[in-house]
Symmetry: C2
Subunit: 295 residues, 2 copies
């Protein structure tokens, strides 16, 4: 049997992602001998105990990280600086410090300055999720067949990076490396901007007059349903994503807005060729996605 | 056994919708005794003959409508004025003239002036579709459990309206009535604007630098995949929708753009409360949709 990669791992946060890592570790046996989970709210702590996917549950994250060979921050990225201040003095020399945040520049900004010598900071972003959140939402196969992007910093111990990559492979993920800046731009256009749009269009519809709004709710066609599906996400997580990937999200929003305005202008002026070209480009990208089996 | 509603029906256009109506009529036996199909392109005509879902295939729409108790235009709405000029002199007195277009103001504009006395114009919009198009894409159950919105004009014979409503009920649809102006606003926000956004964001991504674009294609998260799914639609149909529901689409685009800019401004200024409020509103609308069993 494959030996576990770690003796003890500590998960700070027990929502969809943290709860899924814990379940995976318990089921596979090849990730860690012991899973320690910490969470901030009393309700989450109580629920994690009831669900039983942790070997030990700690209210204090500083207690949770003691003796852990791998610590993964699984809280919204806006809480990273505060958590790091609490746990930094208690991290084990030689331990790997990682995370699952959707932004990577902010993670480096918030964790690196406090990272003790001998602790290996290796940020990561498993690109998996559902529209549900909280400790009940996790499941052991969440990461299977999904990408996990690792964004190591120059100079990080290659052995530590490889160990974390192996951890995610054993979770079932396809592991890729990227620098944090490119990562933040890519997720801004493939995930953060689409969510911003989805949250916005729901509000736009809600602001319409009574008669139209009634029709919206009744006749929501598939287009609008797709928007609202991705709009049913964790509030704190998305608030922190927007605030911590600000530059990339604003850049992509500006580019998108210019393009949408150009589309609107073509509609107003009846420019068929422009409109047809936009529709064709959408289909072209769609085909690229299908060819890459991401669709 | 239920008697067929019509002796002969004529479908002008044999794409996803026209092909589905024809198949439904052939399978159910309660819609019409005879289904005549006309299409513009030689390839479509040939394919309709091969697929065998029409009792008769006519190249000339004027021939197709002769003797039909119900004529349904199933071509992109931009072709309505041209088709109407061809068929108007040949419509049977007492016949119902209807359509399946996604815009209703333009349909009234293009069909009503040429509608002969004694022919009942009853526009309709079955809210059903897939991401596929063409004569091969149709299937008999496409309309089951989906809304069909009928937008009769004031003064139209109530018996003709009720006959068309019954036709759609027998296709499996839930039939609702609405005035054309409200219809066009509702579909602008639930369907046309989401498609405009989807087409646009594909182009925005395609315009990014090489490194980022490569990441986009590789790591397309579910958010962006949803956009590209709805972007894989019929080019001519969508071109005509945007050009023929211009005022409502531009109004909704303007409202949405203002709201998206306000969201961006809140991100730039770090206004947490505003961001959280937008996310919560998205979730609220999502819940409304689920409660209405439209999700």
């Amino acid at each position: 049997m494959t030996e576990p990669l770690f003796g003890r791992i500590a998960l700070i946060g027990a929502g969809l992602i943290g709860g899924s890592i814990a379940r995976r570790a318990r089921e596979s046996g090849t990730l860690a001998r012991e899973v320690v989970v910490s969470a901030r709210s009393p309700e989450t702590l109580r629920r994690v105990r009831e669900l039983g996917f942790a070997d030990r549950v700690e209210e204090d994250p500083a207690e949770a990280v003691k003796g852990a060979g791998l610590v993964i921050l699984c809280v919204p990225v806006g809480a990273f600086a505060g958590v790091m201040a609490r746990i930094a003095p208690h991290l084990e020399p030689g331990a790997i410090l990682s995370d699952v945040g959707s932004t990577k520049g902010s993670v480096v900004r918030d964790l690196q300055p406090l990272c003790p010598p001998g602790v290996h900071l290796v940020p990561a972003h498993p690109m998996a999720g559902t529209e549900y959140s909280g400790p009940d939402a996790g499941f052991a196969t969440l990461f299977e067949g999904r990408y996990c992007i690792v964004t190591p910093l120059p100079g990080t111990d290659p052995a530590a990076v490889e160990t974390l990559r192996e951890f995610w492979r054993r979770c079932g993920s396809m592991v890729e490396s990227m620098d944090p800046v490119t990562h933040d731009k890519v997720v801004a256009i493939v995930s953060h901007l689409p969510h911003l749009i989805a949250f916005t269009i729901c509000g736009t519809a809600d602001d319409l007059g009574e008669e139209t709004r009634e029709g919206v709710l009744k006749f929501a066609a598939s287009g609008f349903r797709d928007f609202t599906r991705i709009a049913a996400s964790d509030v704190a997580m998305w608030r922190d994503v927007f605030l911590n990937n600000r530059e990339a999200v604003l850049e992509m929003l500006a580019r998108f807005t210019e393009d949408a305005q150009a589309f609107g202008r073509a509609i107003r002026r009846g420019e068929e060729e422009f409109i047809v070209d936009r529709i064709r480009r959408g289909r072209k990208i769609r085909r690229s996605l299908i060819e890459r089996k991401q669709a």
